[in-house]
């Protein structure tokens, strides 16, 4: 396209804006694809196994992805800054353990549990952020170190005990529905609210865009006046808070917490996998909340489908691995 000379440009009328649809479609391709593949899986498996499509199963597949989604949303923000947070697993475990034990033995009210979980996430996440942003320790090393430290805290606090049951209010939070006329499980509602919040933060606030700008080019972001340190710390804080919230949701949903909650299931690797499937770029600069939650839902649907088609359980993790590869390579094809 030949460019007009500057003098001529002044006289040019402001051209109509280029259709934004195409560009937006291009960027939202992954979400559309994820929704498509998820629905296709439900329909195909549902055609052979009616129960797979039952409202109840659909609800449980959604419920099953809540904890991992919360964790992955935080992971998304951190990876978008070009970081990584391995410590989400012990933060989840610690939050579940502390609130769980206090609820089990001391009858901690639910709002208190929220406050404590948030405080734990805030402190531990911020510590990660400060180590990364202020001491310039690479994120993978920082969170590897704090992974050990935070795991130790779980043992210190629990002193070898575990949570077996939670008060009624917690069980309701984890298992109840919003209202009998509106049979949406409360955890799904919680996830919905967090998703909305994260969607807004990442896509429509200065902080969120600063996160992406830092992931794109940290030096340029600094030069443009973005408060890099604060933003980075903020990203890890969000990750910590969401991990702690995930811990509380885990506790409420399963009614239990042990010293291996989170770390035993390698939740940190799971959350990274989900973020990647959801379209977050491991090199930073790209990531969105909706994609992550869709990725998590997709994973939940696929893993449930494997049970329905009677794939032996030992192959579930292989299925997960294959999906990561497919998602990442397919994602690149779509963007090229």
């Amino acid at each position: 396209m030949s460019a007009p000379a500057l003098q001529a440009a002044a006289a040019l009328p402001v051209r109509p804006r280029p259709a934004r649809g195409s560009a937006w479609l291009r960027r939202d391709l992954r979400e559309i694809a994820l929704v498509g593949v998820t629905i296709a899986t439900v329909l195909v498996v549902g055609a052979f196994h009616r129960d797979f499509m039952s409202l109840q199963n659909l609800r449980f597949m959604m419920l099953g992805c809540v904890v991992l989604s919360l964790l992955s949303l935080g992971q998304t923000v951190v990876i978008a800054t070009r970081g990584i947070d391995l410590s989400v697993a012990p933060v989840l475990g610690l939050s579940a353990m502390v609130t769980g034990l206090m609820a089990q033995t001391g009858g901690l009210p639910l709002y208190g549990a929220f406050a404590i979980a948030l405080a734990i996430g805030l402190v531990l996440g911020t510590l990660n952020g400060l180590l990364v942003a202020r001491l310039a320790i690479p994120p993978i090393i920082t969170t590897l170190g704090t992974y050990s430290l935070y795991s130790g805290l779980i043992f210190l606090y629990s002193d070898g005990t575990q949570v077996d049951s939670v008060p009624h209010a917690y069980a309701t939070l984890g298992n109840g529905v919003v209202a009998s006329v509106l049979p949406v499980p409360i955890p799904v509602l919680v996830l919905g609210i967090v998703l909305l919040l994260m969607w807004f933060i990442i896509g429509h606030t200065r902080f969120g865009r600063a996160v992406l700008a830092i992931g794109n080019n940290q030096a340029a972001a600094y030069n443009a006046g973005i408060p890099v340190t604060i933003t980075q710390v903020g990203a890890y804080t969000i990750s910590g808070v969401l991990a702690a919230l995930a811990g509380l949701m885990f506790l409420s949903y399963t009614g239990s917490a042990t010293v291996t909650t989170g770390t035993g299931d390698h939740m940190e690797l799971q959350s990274i996998a989900v973020a990647l499937i959801g379209g977050t770029a491991i090199a930073g600069g790209r990531g969105n909340a909706l994609g992550t939650v869709l990725g998590s839902l997709f994973l939940s649907v696929i893993l449930t489908a494997l049970v329905f088609v009677h794939v032996p359980p030992i192959w579930y993790s292989a299925g997960e691995g294959v999906m990561i590869l497919l998602a990442v390579t397919a994602g690149r094809g779509a963007r090229a």
Binding site: M1, S2, A3, P4, A5, L6, Q7, A8, A9, A10, L12, V14, R15, R17, P18, R20, A23, F200, G203, H204, T205, R206, R209, A210, L212, A213, G215, N216, N217, A219, A220, A221, Y222, N223, A224, G225, I226, A281, G285, R286
Partner: protein, 515 residues
Amino acid sequence: MPGTVAQAGSASSGTYRASDIVKSYGSVPVLKGLSVSLHPGRIHTTMGENGAGKSTLFKVMAGLVQPNGGTLHLDDAPLLLSSPHEAHLHGIYLVPQEPALMPELTVAETMFVGQLPTTGRWRRIDWSAMRARAQEALHALGLDIDVDAQSRRLSIAQQQQVECAKALLRGCRVILFDEPTSPLTTHEVDRLFSTMRRLRGEGYTLAFISHRMDEVLDISDDISVLRDGALVDSVERPEFDRTRLLSQMVGREMRTIPRRSWSSATTEAVLTVDGLAHAPSFAEVGFTLHRGEILGLAGLVGAGRTEIAETIFGLRRCDAGSVVLDGAPITGLPTHEIIRKGLVYAPEDRARHGAVLPMTIAQNVSAGLIERVRRRWGLMDRDDEDRIGAEAVSQYRVRCAGTDQTLRELSGGNQQKVVFGKWMGLSPAVAILDEPTRGVDVGAKDEIYELIEARARAGTAILVISSEMEELVRLCDRILSIYEGRIVAELHGDGITPERLGRSYLSHAGLGAAA
């Protein structure tokens, strides 16, 4: 926030003074108390050899670097800049040589990074206002760039233009350009200068750094010459004098650059390229290179010259055509075999492609063909490697403390000499040199030209890709002009003049008169 050129208002302010600026890195002084002043409605050029302190001065003035001493005054008010952002707030903007990309973001967002407009009680990003204003600013500068495009799709020239628009969007009145023209083609430089002139007309305070004498004389109102961190000369139009400026820069009498009187070119063909194509960069490229010949490839950046070189070198897929080296086809061979057969390529971007800066001189020199380092017990003999490195250092006159110094510590010119040493040590049959003096100061340029000529005399056929006409005119026996991926003209012997050269590839761009 004043958003566009139209709103920028009249030129009543914007005098920016830097006085007695002192800056040193560790114990190395870079700026030794120098002062410059920029005025609204004028274009100020800072010249000087590499290492003279030009970039550091600009960085100090833009808040990127904190000086050890000295003061800044904007409109006679003292100024303390602790960050570039603060400079922006005071209306001072530095356009870097290669603007830092935000590859995943849209053009519009890139322009507003750090100052995204918000709306409403929730202070959410006002995307539509942002896109509209970004588009407006680009249009006002006569630029046709899609604001919704991903930034990764912009060329370097487009990125610079976007940077200009960013400065305007931030309401900056003082715009500093750090060597903006070196990655640009002549055509793009013209576009940039038009923009600068327009801004000058509107009373903006402009300053830029350049090595290219022609463009400096063309556009400047004031010129400061820096040498070794001090101001050695300061002139106002019309008292410009090319020879004086040059000699001030290098501190000695500059030899004029005549065309070489001799030629080592033979008629023995070493490299024959026929019908070479790589979609979509270039097609039907064919030429023959002779032993001892220096052949130039002229053209705009993006014309496909680098792509041609990289295809010959086996770094890119070859869609059609053939390359024959010394009678043997090398088409489509992997790079390491091409090197072994005697063809080497020194890329234009040293830091990214040409050298490994954290490694030592000796290691960089031996990197060209690690196999040539002698083995002991199957391991590389370090003494031999040192010897190879030392040979290159002395032969190519690399100024360094030793072969174990890392390349990062060397100046651009010396880095380039090491890259030369790496390839020329192989005594290649063909050497392709892509922008061999990019980022090299004037004095070192001469040395590099001499090295190239010496190599040609030793029988190597040399293909030089350059955007500097002077360079091509001085060096080449023959020049091919490339336009949009095709060879459009061939100049040789006395037919080589800057005017003809310019016309040969610019006329196709419809801007021949500019040359």
